[in-house]
């Protein structure tokens, strides 16, 4: 019995040592994606990741002579996993905010779609004050760990807030009416409109002008201290912004030029 025990411990040690020695290879750029956030990044039935950021990442990799490897990670663990070196960069529609900057570095923004409230039943409000009034006593769905969740938590005192793990589960409950409205990136609602035309954006589009909480657009998250990678990514993003390929890509996925200059 002891022998079996020792053998197992040895096997586990070997496994760990193999992981030890597997240095993150320079040729591969490991990209952390959420995969439940169309059009930024989603998964098709054959299990492949598709979306704006997937194509963007592939283009970036091409330019820096690396190969992209996409690693799926649930949203609420996406920053801890970067800190844990599970991947090299995050490209998951992540807004650049002061809060997050304390933990990780960001490249320049590559897109900005703003945050909005989507709903089947609510009427359109033209100002934040109106929106707050309309949401009173209603059920609002947010995704755990997003800027919308934080904003809703701090601002909406008379609204019932439900936190979902993924946007897709939020969508399901929004479409079947278990929540009155959902709050997340604007692009999420335009994507959902393809499935159900009755989904409307019922709030003004909220950006950093309305509340600094809403951040400075969407950027690539990089672990602190990896300055070389960061400047390389910034260089490529600037290039792509200048030659128009970033706008083209954004237009293809969002239906309009959502890229950030």
């Amino acid at each position: 019995m002891k022998k079996i025990g020792f053998l197992t411990i040895i096997i586990i040690t070997i496994l760990v040592v193999i992981q030890f020695n597997k240095k993150s290879s320079d040729e591969i750029l490991r990209v952390g994606v959420e995969g439940a956030y169309i059009p930024w990044g989603g998964i098709d039935p054959s299990g492949n990741v598709v979306g704006f950021e997937v194509e963007l990442a592939n283009k970036i990799c091409e330019k820096i002579n690396r190969k992209c490897k996409f690693i799926k990670q649930d949203w609420d663990g996406i920053i801890p996993a970067l800190l844990n070196n599970k991947y090299d960069v995050i490209m998951a529609g992540m807004t650049i905010t002061e809060e997050r900057k304390k933990k990780i570095d960001f490249t320049r923004g590559y897109a900005d779609t703003g945050v909005a409230v989507g709903s089947l039943s609510l009427e359109k409000s033209n100002s934040i004050e109106e929106l707050l009034k309309k949401l009173e006593g209603k059920k609002l769905g947010v995704q755990t760990g997003t800027i919308s969740a934080k904003w809703a938590d701090e601002t909406l005192k008379n609204t019932i807030i439900r936190s979902y793990g993924t946007q897709e589960e939020l969508n399901i409950d929004l479409l079947n009416g278990r929540i009155d409205a959902g709050m997340n990136d604007t692009s999420v609602w335009t994507a959902l409109q393809k499935e159900n035309e009755d989904i409307k954006i019922v709030s003004p589009i909220l950006t950093s002008k309305d509340d600094p909480l809403f951040g400075e657009g969407i950027g690539i998250g990089v672990k602190k201290g990896r300055t070389e990678l960061l400047s390389e990514l910034n260089r490529v993003l600037n290039e792509m912004s200048a030659d128009g390929s970033l706008s083209n890509l954004a237009t293809k996925w969002f239906g309009y030029d959502a890229s950030l200059r």
């Binding site: 933990k103 059920k139 755990t144 439900r162």
Partner: protein, 230 residues
């Protein structure tokens, strides 16, 4: 994690304790009543009734609680809300509330486990008890309720205390269907502060404390109703 954040998180998580406790007590009490019916059914002479009870127990003990919760909320609840007349009904406020799905999932689950515990306990009561209560002129149901069941419940106490602890632990899964009980609140704070160890430490200590109290209560009950044999 700074001390202030630690204290604030502790307070916020403590505020979620009533939700956890209400989930657990509500589902345990209804589940216990259901379990008694299930046991009665599984001891029935009618094959169909017996078959129903046994498959119920088989299903709820054979699948993970997580699947049962998903099936309840994202399955059954989703299906319900696809019907327009359900949405128009006065029950919609209850039907759209995730809390009730969590309670029912936990309740159905504990009913299955408790039924199995009770059935085992009833079968372990010697047949002689039945015979002597018959000889006192009691009917089957009278002897079941007055003689057998009290003994069986006493017999089942240790196993049932385990089941109660399993339910406290199981209630953490309600966080997955958006309920802000202890684990849900912990997850919310974690997604904002990215602290892991401290938050798990806080939540874990609260769960341990709850389970410690439960163990103590059951120890007291076991001692109080100890079978005194000479």
């Amino acid at each position: 994690m700074e001390l202030e954040l630690f204290i604030n998180s502790t307070i916020e998580i403590l505020k979620a304790v009533p939700t956890t406790l209400s989930l657990v007590t509500l589902s345990l009490s209804i589940g216990f009543i259901m379990a008694i019916f299930l046991v009665a059914m599984s001891l029935s002479k009618l094959m169909l009734v017996r078959f129903f009870a046994n498959s119920y127990i088989y299903y709820f003990r054979g699948t993970p609680l997580l699947i049962q919760i998903y099936l309840m909320y994202f399955g059954f609840g989703y299906w319900l809300s696809m019907h327009e007349n359900v949405k128009q009904s006065i029950f919609w406020d209850i039907i759209s509330e995730p809390y009730w799905y969590a309670v029912s999932a936990l309740m159905f689950n504990t009913a299955g486990y408790t039924a199995e515990i009770l059935r085992g306990a009833i079968l372990s009561i010697p047949k002689g008890q039945f015979e002597s209560s018959y000889s006192l002129g009691l009917s089957y149901y009278q002897s079941m309720i007055k003689i057998i069941l009290p003994q069986a419940i006493r017999q089942a106490l240790p196993a049932y205390s385990n089941e109660v602890i399993l339910m406290v632990k199981g209630s953490s899964l309600a966080s997955i269907i958006t309920i802000m009980e202890i684990t849900g609140t912990m997850n919310k704070i974690r997604s904002e502060t990215y602290a892991v160890y401290e938050l798990i430490f806080i939540a874990g200590s609260i769960y341990l404390l709850i389970n410690f109290v439960i163990t103590r209560i059951f120890n007291y009950l076991e001692n109080k109703y100890k079978i005194v044999s000479n």
